[in-house]
């Protein structure tokens, strides 16, 4: 009886997983085949899963757009800078909250954590006014970068990760005449590599895919990121679906490469902080 119920459970689980996988893969497949069809076929409501004719014309139209390479460069630059700042600052703050004794440690951490409960939409307008009106940073890299230099979510992630590192190593380093920043740099960071890798991937993907904030604070074609740039294929009365799909495919490529080459860290990252040790 027990083995029969196990088999039934296995079948149910498999069916759910297969349906889930198909639902996940179909949009990506749609995007991919849409990028190699003519605009009419790409825009059809029920897409042809196996296209009649393959065409590279959508890619030609996409790359024919003046600023595409600039948008890709902007995305790469912004994502890289935000990844570096987030990894460095979140690990510093996470280490301090996890391992250093200072007055108000817990209180400051809880205040920071509570800000995660405020929806991003609530802070969007004040942040916009601050960047554009107060600091006069409209249409600059600084405006895109500044709010994302370090996120509370990343600090939380690193705090959880740092908590799992043995404190005795910090004490040993302190006795070994290592300064406080030296302990962080020479002892903690090398040990935290898996956590840092996960943080870097998360941040890079999130920055690369960010649409709304760069869209809000930039207004010239040169300052757009690739995600904002894609929107320019939507015209007043029509949409170039083929080129849009081609652009989406190109924009998704770095993420796919990054994900599949580092998926081991991704999966590890999901369990960070769940198990001590």
């Amino acid at each position: 009886m027990k083995s029969r119920s196990k088999v039934i459970m296995l079948i149910v689980a498999s069916v759910i997983l297969v349906v889930w996988s198909v639902l996940t893969i179909i949009p990506m497949y749609w995007m991919l085949i849409g990028s190699v069809q003519d605009t009419k076929s790409a825009a059809s409501f029920i897409p042809k899963m196996i296209p009649d004719v393959l065409s590279v014309a959508p890619y030609e139209r996409f790359f024919g757009k003046t600023n595409v390479m600039r948008w890709l460069f902007n995305s790469l630059l912004i994502s890289t800078i935000l990844t570096v700042t987030n990894v460095f600052l979140a690990s510093l703050a996470g280490y301090a909250f996890a391992k250093l004794k200072f007055p108000g440690n817990k209180a400051v951490f809880w205040v920071l954590l509570s800000t995660m409960m405020i929806p991003a939409q609530v802070t969007l307008i004040p942040l916009y006014i601050l960047m554009i009106d107060v600091f006069d940073l409209g249409n600059t890299y600084t405006a895109i970068l500044l709010p994302g230099i370090v996120s509370v979510g990343n600090i939380f992630l690193m705090k959880q990760y740092m908590s799992s590192l043995p404190t005795s190593l910090i004490h040993a380093a302190r006795i070994d005449a290592c300064g406080e920043f030296g302990i962080f740099w020479k002892v903690i960071l090398p040990m935290a590599k898996p956590g840092l890798a996960v943080l870097a991937i998360f941040t890079f993907v999130a920055s690369w895919n960010d649409f709304f904030w760069p869209f809000l604070v930039t207004n010239s074609a040169e300052m757009r990121t690739i995600q904002v740039g894609l929107a320019s294929f939507v015209y007043a009365d029509t949409t170039d679906f083929g080129a849009l799909m081609a652009g989406a495919t190109v924009a998704a490529l770095p993420m796919m490469i990054l994900f599949f080459s580092l998926q081991r860290y991704f999966l590890q990252g999901i369990t960070i902080g769940a198990v001590k040790g």
Binding site: H171, A172, R174, I175, D176, C178, P190, M191
Partner: protein
Amino acid sequence: MARVEFRNIRKEFVDDNKGTFTAVAGSDFVIHDKEFVVFVGPSGCGKTTSLRMIAGLERQTSGDILIGDRVVNNLHPKDRDIAMVFQDYALYPHMTIRENLSFGLKNLKKPKEYIEQKVSQAASILGLESMIDRKPRELSGGQRQRVAVGRAIVRDPQVFLFDEPLSNLDAKLRVQMRVELSELHKRLEATIVYVTHDQVEAMTLGERIVVMNNGIIQQIASPTELYANPQNMFVAGFIGSPPMNFIDVHKEGNVLRMEGGEFVIPDSMAAALSKYENEHLILGMRPEHITGEDIPVISSLDYTYSTKVQVVEHLGSENLVYFRVGNRTVTAKVHPETTGYPGMEKTFIFNFDKVHFFDPETEQRIDW
């Protein structure tokens, strides 16, 4: 090397939820130059906190700590000229053994040649030459422990601090490392402060032992003195394996009455216990001073006591026989060929030459 002194050291931990916890309640002692001193006691007795205060990893609530002639209260760990070996080794996992050994000296900006000489010297003393370029994860527990000791040696510190360094090793390796540490102490002529909860480790390694309980020092003495003359019931029960037996007795003149028997004690002993006339007191006797009837009575202070055997443990070199006196279980260490089995009626010999008496309220030893 240098002496270490605790002057009325007190350490309190304040927890928002649990309130104030006193880890060390006014310790006063001196560890002499080149001495091997062991802090021993059960979990939470304050031994590790005391060690960490010497290291500078914890700040005492009040009192002064001296290393050599310097008061080190406000000194950072790196400025105290100490080295510490941790319970979990605390080796830097991303560094090779060579890098682990040289890390402290590099931070102290010592010349390269000096560092190399010190590292190879330590590696040679501890037999680490063949694994010097390996990472800690490639080493066994015993080898990692040696590296941790090596990291301390290269520093040439005034004081070595060991925080339960053998507790992660298996029993056989622990014995081997114990011998090595003893030899190392003789070789380096170092001042060593060693923390352990294992009284066998304390007895075998320490020149003097500091027995602690609930943050209070119970007794400071040499291993033999602690064993022979424990100051109170805690020390008597903690030092020695199996621990000292405690039996409730009632004094009536020259007679000590206990459940199932009585002992007629000599006048001198009765006089020393006169304060407890017609009162209860605790008799303490080590298991090896209670023997089987197979051993002939040879002293006028040998008394016999017959009872039923509860359990017999065969250890090879000796047998441990357990029986009950009142509500206490008593252990006798008997000859391995002594016959005995659970339920058997057996006569034991109590050797009163080595008997101790304790006040039932204060638990302090009564001299006789």
